[in-house]
Symmetry: C2
Amino acid sequence: MSNHKIEIRRSNVDKILLGAEKVFAEKGFAGAAMADIAAEVELPRSNLHYYFSTKTELYNAVLLGLLEVWKQDALCFETYDDPRLVLSSYIRAKMTHSRTRPYGSKVWADEIIHGAPMLGLRLDASLYDWAKMKEAKIRQWVADKRILAVEPSSVLYMIWASTQHYADFDHQVNILNEHQPLSDIQFERAVHSVTSIILRGIGLEP
Amino acid sequence: MSNHKIEIRRSNVDKILLGAEKVFAEKGFAGAAMADIAAEVELPRSNLHYYFSTKTELYNAVLLGLLEVWKQDALCFETYDDPRLVLSSYIRAKMTHSRTRPYGSKVWADEIIHGAPMLGLRLDASLYDWAKMKEAKIRQWVADKRILAVEPSSVLYMIWASTQHYADFDHQVNILNEHQPLSDIQFERAVHSVTSIILRGIGLEP
DNA sequence: GTCTATAACGCGATAGAC
DNA sequence: GTCTATCGCGTTATAGAC
């Protein structure tokens, strides 16, 4: 295949993945029609089937891409050791993705809420060891009396839930913000609030 | 209509609403077929249409019932004044509903995530004044120096997100709990963790 | 690689007998 | 009030021309 054609392919695939992320976020897997996605990316329906033979395959490609993105957010657990630094970096990374990839967050939430019918056992394989490592680190901080005696899983869940809320429930957030999306300043304030409540909540001075 | 028939109607309507809540939670609005709901409640499809003429009407009935349930959880904002008492009561009420009505929580989350296409402007009408009253109370606590200077909306969002997480993302929670639903004891621990992190996070000794 | 036409199917909704 | 049969639409996926 010529370089030119490879270029076309990559550009189309990327465009389709991003458009599909938006449409799946807005309508859910069952509610999203391939025609909707085709309209979003301005390509004919059958062109989508050329790159992704079924809707399920396209949806799975979107999900797998997101899994990679989420994992990046938690690299700070490996690079740092100080609980204040690790957690504030993690919260900021997740909040930033809630702002830059809100559709992705919604697709992910939708999939988990419905019991991960597509991810299936792959979720288990991706999630378990990854999350247990984070829990172990938090548990170690507790053992070393660097933070208060808290349930590690609860801390993780509160961070996931609180940060993703700004993406997944943005409709509600906007209503309560006088029907406006949060400004950059308001968003920065939200990052600060979530961070300081979590840090202080586990016994750290923010 | 005779009392007997009224009884049949009420019993059937309740059964359908509860079964529909489960199926909508598991498959989403578009993914849920009337046949699925009919199978769940063991009634013929057309019987459902007798009570709820369209799928949309049934779905709306489920949503409106949930709105009432959620509002009940926040009554403590009116009955108490002490921030510690109000917030711990609210968190407990919401956690309890996450445990007893997980399907309801998921239906609600699904609807908001997709931009409240069915609730539409009714969400606005139900949510705005209701939430602004809670924010005002938190803001007053800050003004009276009973809690730290926090963003009232962030506190609400963290409570909503953290408590609902145990229902909406139970699939993930269960995976990380060795593929078991949380036991009563584990759940009680989770309530305690969320409560103490939030309270301490805004400057209260739990 | 792109696009049109169509096959095959699932689903919501209703008509009408009981 | 209950149930069976059916209509008609929307959707996925593919076959095949260009």
